[in-house]
């Protein structure tokens, strides 16, 4: 469940937490775009390290590390698949370039995970919903989205309780061959899904009895306002994008292997 931990919002006050979610989202999307533009190790490494000041400023390093650890398995998988496929497509040879390209693909994935992790760790679901609403997303969709985000940690906790309850009835999750192990998860998944459905029905009833959707136009208790820091982040975002686009067309990015003289 450690991947979920990396998305779990905790209420702390930091300059990053106070930033406007729309600006933060624009920043994350910019990082996303830059990570897609480049396929070389060096710019992706730069991108990776660029997030660290944000993480430290927001004081979420521990949860952030946990989300990276959670992503490690998938990252390793991406690396191996890349190495293997390039081995077959480049005429059954292992070259430094192949390894480097696979590393770049893995780094790209890690950059995406880390930037989204910072975003979700520092943005409360309420702010997120507000940002969606103010971006003219219909309230029903905004609400569904924020509720989904909000219930991720709840579901993770529930999954833990269910695992405990079944272990107490003698279920051994790590026992047996691969098929048996997959089957072992049936007693976990069914209660989890059933109680999620039951909860959503209860939530719907509770919402409707509190006049959900009674008025066409909703008002909000809080409204989002842009501050100095938000404009600074916007400037950084535009700067990164401009620099990346410029570098992509005008600078020949050297590979690590050529620098090392392979």
């Amino acid at each position: 469940m450690s991947v979920f931990d990396g998305l779990k919002f905790r209420k702390v006050y930091s300059p990053i937490h106070n930033l406007d979610p729309r600006m933060k989202f624009a920043y994350v999307i910019a990082i996303f775009v830059v990570a897609i533009i480049f396929y070389q190790v060096i710019p992706l490494l730069v991108l990776f390290f660029m997030q660290i000041p944000f993480v430290l400023l927001a004081r979420v390093q521990r949860q952030w590390l946990r989300s990276l650890r959670g992503a490690a398995f998938l990252a390793a998988f991406i690396f191996i698949i890349n190495v293997v496929t390039t081995y077959f497509t480049s005429g059954y040879t292992f070259t430094a370039i192949n390894i480097e390209n696979s590393t770049a693909m893995t780094l790209r994935f890690i950059v995406l995970v880390e930037s989204f992790s910072v975003f979700f760790l520092t943005t409360s679901p309420d702010h997120l919903g507000l940002a969606l609403e103010e971006s003219r997303v219909p309230y029903e969709f905004a609400f569904a989205f924020t509720t989904a985000v909000r219930f991720v940690p709840v579901l993770a906790e529930e999954a833990q309780t269910i695992m405990d309850a079944q272990k107490a009835r003698g279920l051994e999750l790590e026992k047996g061959g691969l098929l048996k192990r997959i089957r072992n998860y049936i007693p976990i998944l069914i209660p989890l899904i059933v109680s999620a459905i039951r909860r959503s029905l209860e939530l719907a009833e509770a919402m409707e009895s509190r006049a959900w959707g009674a008025a066409k136009k909703r008002t909000n208790l809080y409204s989002l306002k842009l501050h100095k820091g938000d404009f600074a982040l916007l400037a950084i975002t535009i700067g990164i994008l401009a620099l990346a686009v410029y570098a992509h067309f005008n600078v020949a990015v050297p590979t690590v292997s050529s620098l090392l003289g392979f």
Partner: protein
């Protein structure tokens, strides 16, 4: 026998849930663990079948350290019924739900058949044998969860909040049922907020607060000690409340049993008439 010696436990979130808890529960005892939310009750009892392992200290079940055994092995002797039955029900029929643990423990087919029969009968669920547990009412689901644990006949039974969502009749049945287990020398540990239920059962009461045990004794003494109960945000049982108010008349304060109460009142009435 369950022995906890100076047990400390903290969750990964660094919350210290238990701070040096020591407790011995003998075979055949009936213990109610009480205390406010977050006192560490559930955390503590989850150590009894090894779901949680102490960060410091030891828990021994029948002499075996829980850190040296798997949950499955410990569960064979320590049955744990969770608060919310929806956290464990997953089978297509009640019958299969009960069979789940029996199969996990490797019982023979004929034995499984017999045990299912026995458990269904015990909790008056026989008519629902082929019904989906998801179609049953909340109270019935709770009984299915209980039956699915009782079926393997563990020496110790841990019940987490067994009275929540049960009507009075079911509570009374549960009480009689625990008494019946007592006659078979089974150990029963109940985690509960339900002070009236505890008063009716009159077990040994262990009071917890902020990860520590603050009181341990017979129910009649602890449940009639207002300062102690206030410490744990527990209200006196109604009978004890009445007798506390009547203490000016020279009546005893430590009464929680309804029959004892009746006798005392009748006696007081007679002596006044004389």
């Amino acid at each position: 026998m369950i022995v906890a010696e100076n047990v400390w436990f903290s969750y990964p979130s660094k919350v210290e849930a238990l701070k040096g808890v020591s407790l011995t529960i003998n075979d055949g005892e009936f213990v109610a663990i009480m205390g406010q939310n977050g006192a560490g009750k559930s955390t503590f009892v989850k150590h009894f079948n090894g779901l949680l392992k102490p960060s410091r200290g030891v828990v021994r079940v029948d002499g075996v350290e829980t850190t040296k055994s798997s949950v499955a092995a410990l569960a064979r002797n320590v049955g744990f019924v969770f608060q919310n039955p929806d956290h464990q029900l997953f089978s297509e029929t009640v019958e299969e739900e009960i069979a789940f643990a029996l199969k996990n423990f490797g019982f023979e087919k004929e034995v499984i058949e017999k045990r299912i029969e026995w458990a269904l009968n015990l909790l008056s669920l026989t008519q629902y044998r082929k019904t989906s547990p998801f179609l049953l009412s909340g109270g019935e689901r709770k009984r299915v969860a209980l039956a699915s644990v009782l079926a393997w006949d563990p020496q110790t039974l841990i019940l987490d909040e067994p009275t929540i969502g049960q009507d009075h009749e079911q509570k009374e049945k549960l009480r009689q049922f625990i008494m019946q287990l007592q006659t078979q020398k089974k150990t029963v540990v109940v985690v509960t907020h339900d002070v009236e239920f505890v008063a009716e059962c009159n077990p040994r009461v262990v009071l917890m607060k902020e990860g520590k045990i603050v009181a341990d004794g017979v129910g009649k003494e602890i449940l009639t000690d207002p300062p102690l109960l206030e410490l744990s945000s527990i209200v006196l049982p109604q009978i004890a409340q009445v007798f506390t108010k009547l203490s000016e008349l020279g009546l005893p304060k430590d009464v929680i049993d309804i029959y004892e109460a009746k006798n005392i009142i009748l006696k007081a009435k007679e002596s006044r008439h004389r």
